[in-house]
């Protein structure tokens, strides 16, 4: 495993995090850290442990071993420094809730008591909608938005409370290629301009290659961490997977191909993938 030195000023630092569930080890001594403004891809096939890592970082899951530090402090359940966009949010199209209402709930949705409407509040919601290019559908019902539009609104919902870390769980899984690329570009812009650390999980790293500062590659509950060039290499990933895999670079794209011993670990369980590509990860 390629380790990761703890750096001063890190927004997030995981060290030796292990998680068991039902007698099975889900995460095995996971450790990595994120600096402000860094765009990090959390890459791995389904079931590798990506979502578990995100749940640990959010404080929804307490690791059996290891430490999680947010801004150098142990994780609390309610942490305003961490924003989160889940993979799937199903919203009833009949629910009377506009995109701007959902963004406003990102400001103080957990607070009890009546809220006082203010010009300042409304302005902040408008600015946030503008920052994610969502002004055009600010008044549309959330349940009627397209996948890409909803994704933008959810990002605004997560960012309006000014977190230092944004967690995105498979934002590209339900989007067409163009909307996905737009979301990736938007996140890269936000990370850079607002100095927010972005941790984005995906089973395909290729759409992220142009913007990704670092990669946390997950396989079998273990991680390899570093820049893409450091981590996505035949020796490193073979060691991580525990069997031979080959990393091919074709036409600016990265392919991770299972070596002589095909293991189910390396086969993406991605629906609709042609059979011929069955041993190729991250097309």
């Amino acid at each position: 495993m390629i380790g990761d030195e703890m750096r001063r000023g890190d927004v997030l630092a995981l060290e030796g995090v292990s998680v068991w569930r039902g007698g099975r080890q889900i995460l095995d001594e996971v450790g990595f850290s994120l600096a402000p403004g860094e765009f990090t891809g959390l890459i791995g096939s389904n079931g590798a442990g990506k979502t578990t890592i995100l749940r640990v970082v959010m404080g929804l899951l307490a690791p059996a071993e290891g430490t999680v530090l947010v801004n150098g402090r142990p994780l609390a359940r309610r942490n305003r420094s961490v924003g989160y966009v889940p993979q799937k949010v199903l919203i009833d199209p009949d629910a009377p809730l506009r995109a701007s209402d959902l963004v406003a709930l990102g400001l103080d949705g957990e607070k009890v008591g009546p809220r006082t409407p203010s010009r300042q509040r409304r302005q902040r919601v408008e600015e946030m909608l503008d920052a994610v290019d969502a002004t055009a559908f600010a008044d549309a019902r959330v349940g009627n938005l397209s996948g890409g539009e909803l994704q933008r609104v959810l990002i605004a919902h997560a960012l309006i409370s000014r977190p230092q870390l944004l967690l995105m769980d498979e934002p590209l899984a339900n989007l067409d290629i163009r909307s996905g690329q737009e979301i990736v570009d938007l996140l890269a812009r936000i990370a850079e301009q607002q100095r927010i650390a972005v941790l984005l999980s995906a089973h395909d790293m290729n759409p992220l290659l142009p913007v990704m500062d670092r990669v946390v590659y997950v396989a079998g509950g273990r991680v390899a961490v570093g820049t893409t060039d450091d981590v996505v290499r035949t020796e490193v990933l073979s060691k991580l997977y525990g069997h031979q895999v080959n990393v091919l670079r074709v036409d600016g794209r990265v392919l991770v191909v299972s070596g002589s011993h095909v293991s189910l670990d390396a086969i993406p369980r991605q629906s609709g993938a042609p059979a011929a590509d069955a041993s190729v990860e991250g097309r």
């Binding site: 889940p86 009377p96 008591g113 959330v142």
Partner: protein, 276 residues
């Protein structure tokens, strides 16, 4: 129609028509209409039991409504209560019929708990109804934002540190309270229509959550007042008018929306339903 003996009816119906739809807005938003249907049935069984033991029916009603709400909330998993609710519903209805069977005397008072007896409300019930109603409104005002977020997107609420299960339990208690307020007036079967009908109608008419709450109240008030007036004029049961008017409003709003959508179909899909 506005004689002294009718005054109580107007006052109590007005209180109920304010409280029920505010709670009902969240009932509809959370998709827990079934729970809102079951809790008043439980209340009916409680009232029947209390009457058998010679206790105050409101007391039995409140105890059973609260017990059913909390039981459904605790036994339901991940906010899904449909199976538990169905079992609790038939069990309590059965218990209610048993209590009525044991009761030696014919109990029109108990039957009025099922179908409502707005014209027979006594003055001393008003105070209790108002108090419980104020409690419900207060609880909703306090919980408004977290309740809205957990109802619409529980996974976003959890990420903000909101404990969805706690909010769920708190809301079920509010449903029980609102039921206790309204059942003696409009009855167990009709309580449900004042809670759910106006709220379901209102959300066809506006895209804003707070506007939908206010609109639900307006629709419920019109429904309740029109029902009392109609019942007074025709001498038909008030419950019939409440359910009929609530359902008619719902059909009208849905029909209106359907027509509006049919005529605006060619526009960009993004615009969806713009504010009414």
């Amino acid at each position: 129609m506005f004689a002294d003996y009718m005054l109580n009816a107007w006052v109590v119906a007005t209180i109920v028509a304010v409280v029920a739809p505010v709670v009902g807005f969240f009932v509809v938003l959370r998709g827990s209409a079934f729970v809102a249907h079951a809790v008043p049935e439980a209340a009916f069984a409680g009232a029947a039991g209390a009457s058998l033991l010679g206790l105050n029916t409101i007391f039995g009603l409140g105890a059973f409504a609260l017990g059913a709400s909390l039981g459904i909330g605790m036994l339901g998993r991940r906010g899904r209560h449909d199976v538990v609710t169905a079992l609790a519903l038939v069990m309590l209805l059965g218990a209610g019929s048993l209590f009525l069977g044991w009761s030696t005397e014919y109990a029109p008072e108990i039957y009025s708990l099922l179908f409502g007896e707005v014209l027979g409300v006594s003055g001393n019930e008003i105070g209790l109804t108002a108090l419980l109603g104020a409690l419900c409104l207060g609880a909703i005002a306090v919980l408004y934002r977290p309740l809205l977020l957990t109802s619409v997107a529980p996974e976003l609420a959890a990420a903000r540190g909101i404990r969805n299960h706690r909010i769920d339990m708190a809301f079920l208690v509010v449903v029980a309270l609102a039921t206790t307020t309204a059942v003696p007036v409009v009855g167990a079967l009709l309580m449900f229509s004042l809670m759910v009908g106006p709220a379901a109608t209102a959300r066809c008419l506006t895209d804003r959550p707070l506007h939908a709450v206010v609109l639900s109240v307006v629709i419920a008030l019109l429904t309740a007042w029109a029902s009392i007036a109609a019942a007074y004029q025709t001498n038909w049961p008030v419950g019939f008018f409440v359910t009929a008017f609530a359902f008619a409003g719902y059909l009208l709003a849905h029909g209106g929306r359907w027509i509006r959508n049919a005529y605006s179909r060619p526009q960009a899909p993004l615009a969806g339903e713009s504010a009414a």
